[in-house]
């Protein structure tokens, strides 16, 4: 109940920036157009690259643009507030509250993600549908699984961003780690180039890392690449990383709390 209220507040907070949202949809769409032509050139030269056809590839581009803000690929979201509160010391108050810190910020981030999905997710997708005739979900099951996969993607991304923000307990400033983490997220999520194109061992590694949950897994579910057992395995992969990383968040918070107490004298 409390967590739902937190999520609702976060949703409303983001919805006050209307011009920013419109500008963001415009920008995502411009990038969608640029990458679409790049991928069309690639798949025209190699029509079966990575097991995708041209329509799959273009669909992938627009899904990536739609997910960029929802998943907060570059970082940011509720965890930025946490990092700021760690820097100023206000986090000490948060630690007194009778609500878990991870749950609190996760709820806020899910609210933010919901807002970004409805605006910056839906906007580019519609433009992609109209202008580039992207593919719709392969089946009703795929559509449903995609929604589930999306929630898991946000959770995995949240956990990584939470860990990044937590570095502020030791470094005081998260910005350096945030940029590094964003660089890895863009590359290993499949945002820059679908992971199905990554050759050999690089592909194997990229597909096993948590970032694959951000874009590659949801997109493959949408495109109907994963069905049956394969679909369960894909969702299981996301659940695995969500659980492991959330546990890590809790652990890091435990370590940090001891540090805060020491600082407080």
């Amino acid at each position: 109940m409390l967590h739902a209220a937190i999520a609702a507040r976060a949703f409303r907070r983001y919805s006050t920036y209307r011009a920013a949202t419109l500008a963001g949809i415009f920008t995502n769409s411009v990038f969608g157009v640029i990458y679409s032509y790049a991928y069309i050139a690639l798949w025209r030269a190699n029509p079966t690259a990575g097991g995708y056809d041209q329509q799959d590839a273009v669909t992938y581009v627009w899904l990536g643009q739609a997910l960029l803000m929802t998943i907060a690929l570059w970082g940011g979201g509720s965890t930025d507030d946490l990092a700021e509160r760690i820097r100023t010391g206000d986090v000490a108050i948060d630690l007194y509250r009778p609500v878990g810190l991870v749950g609190w910020y996760l709820a806020a981030d899910l609210g933010r993600a919901a807002y970004h999905l409805l605006t910056r997710g839906l906007g580019p997708t519609v433009i992609g549908l109209v202008v580039f005739h992207i593919a719709l979900p392969a089946s009703p099951v795929a559509a449903l699984a995609f929604c589930l996969s999306l929630v898991l993607a946000v959770v995995v991304s949240f956990a990584i961003r939470f860990l990044v923000a937590s570095t502020a307990f030791w470094l005081l400033d998260q910005s350096g780690v945030k940029v590094m983490s964003g660089a890895f997220a863009i590359f290993f999520s499949g945002m820059m180039l679908p992971l199905v194109l990554f050759p050999g061992w690089l592909g194997t590694v990229a597909n096993a890392l948590p970032w694959a949950s951000y874009v590659q897994v949801p997109a493959d579910i949408w495109l109907g690449t994963h069905v049956g057992d394969d679909l369960v395995a894909a969702l299981g992969f996301q659940v695995f990383w969500a659980v492991v990383l959330l546990a890590a968040c809790q652990g890091v918070l435990g370590l940090a709390t001891r540090k805060v107490v020491v600082q407080g004298g």
């Binding site: 920008t27 990038f31 640029i34 032509y37 190699n46 350096g176 940029v179 194109l197």
Partner: protein, 270 residues
């Protein structure tokens, strides 16, 4: 007289910038991580291009090394502009917080202050990476004195074009303070477009990138000259030498927009 004034502005810019470098150094770990992180972003960017080419022999008729020339030159131009004046993106925030009002009371031109504010050396990462890629791609060029001249003018003009785009589109924030991202479509979007041979796009896009948002002059036309290639779109050869003109026009237009924006500006009162 005008030169003395410009030199003085440049010195003030340098002083403010140096202040911010020293401030950033207060968090040395973050400083280093930011520089490395920025190098990493652009480095992985190029790895992406390389992976793309592991599935291709050429992209719309351009080899990897030729695409690297396009990528390196544009990235270098962007890095120069971004390092020098990238902070201008933040004027929306300065307006909201009333910081711009403070700046207006100081005896230093507003644009100089805004550009130097929160100057950061973290973009050295991109500068280094772009130089390496450009250097490698340059070994592919059959150099003549004319081509050396065009290459130098390409980098300077490219930086001017990006300078103009950064300043010009940031001015939108004088009217809508929270639409920062709108500018990204043109600045970083322009930078992304220039990574690819323009021949992958339809003719209309090429026309737009030549006459509306002139990023085609950042690298596409001069690189055709360096590589001794004909334009697949069949534009006049003169375009290949017109980058300085495009740079100056964009730069001039941006300064005009800036002046209009400042005149239009009314404080939020905060």
């Amino acid at each position: 007289m005008a030169e003395a004034l410009a030199a003085r502005h440049l010195r003030t810019y340098g002083q403010i910038a140096w202040l911010w470098v020293r401030a950033a150094w207060q968090y040395p770990t973050s400083f280093v991580l930011l520089a490395v992180g920025n190098g990493l972003i652009t480095g992985l960017d190029f790895v992406g291009l390389w992976i793309m080419f592991s599935h291709l022999r050429d992209l719309a008729g351009f080899s990897l090394q030729e695409v690297a020339l396009l990528y390196g030159s544009a990235s270098l131009a962007l890095a120069l502009a971004d390092t020098a004046i990238g902070s201008v993106e933040r004027i929306g925030a300065y307006i909201r917080t009333g910081r711009l009002d403070q700046m207006m009371t100081k005896p230093v031109p507003l644009l100089v202050q805004v550009c130097a504010d929160q100057f950061t050396l973290r973009r050295l990462g991109r500068l280094t990476q772009a130089s390496v890629v450009f250097g490698w791609a340059c070994t592919h060029v059959d150099w003549t004195p004319a081509r050396v001249l065009v290459a130098v003018s390409m980098l300077v003009s490219g930086a001017l074009v990006f300078f103009g785009l950064f300043v010009g589109f940031s001015c939108i924030q004088f009217w809508t303070t929270d639409a920062t991202e709108f500018a990204n479509a043109f600045t970083y979007g322009g930078a992304t477009v220039t990574q690819y041979p323009l021949s992958i796009f339809p003719r209309e896009v090429m026309v737009g990138l030549t006459f509306v948002v002139p990023v085609a002059f950042v690298n596409w036309y001069p690189c055709l000259f360096l590589l001794g290639r004909d334009d697949p779109f069949g534009t006049p050869d003169a375009f290949q030498l017109a980058s300085p003109l495009a740079g100056l026009v964009t730069f001039g237009a941006a300064l005009l927009v800036w002046r209009t924006g400042v005149r239009h500006y009314t404080s939020t009162g905060s």
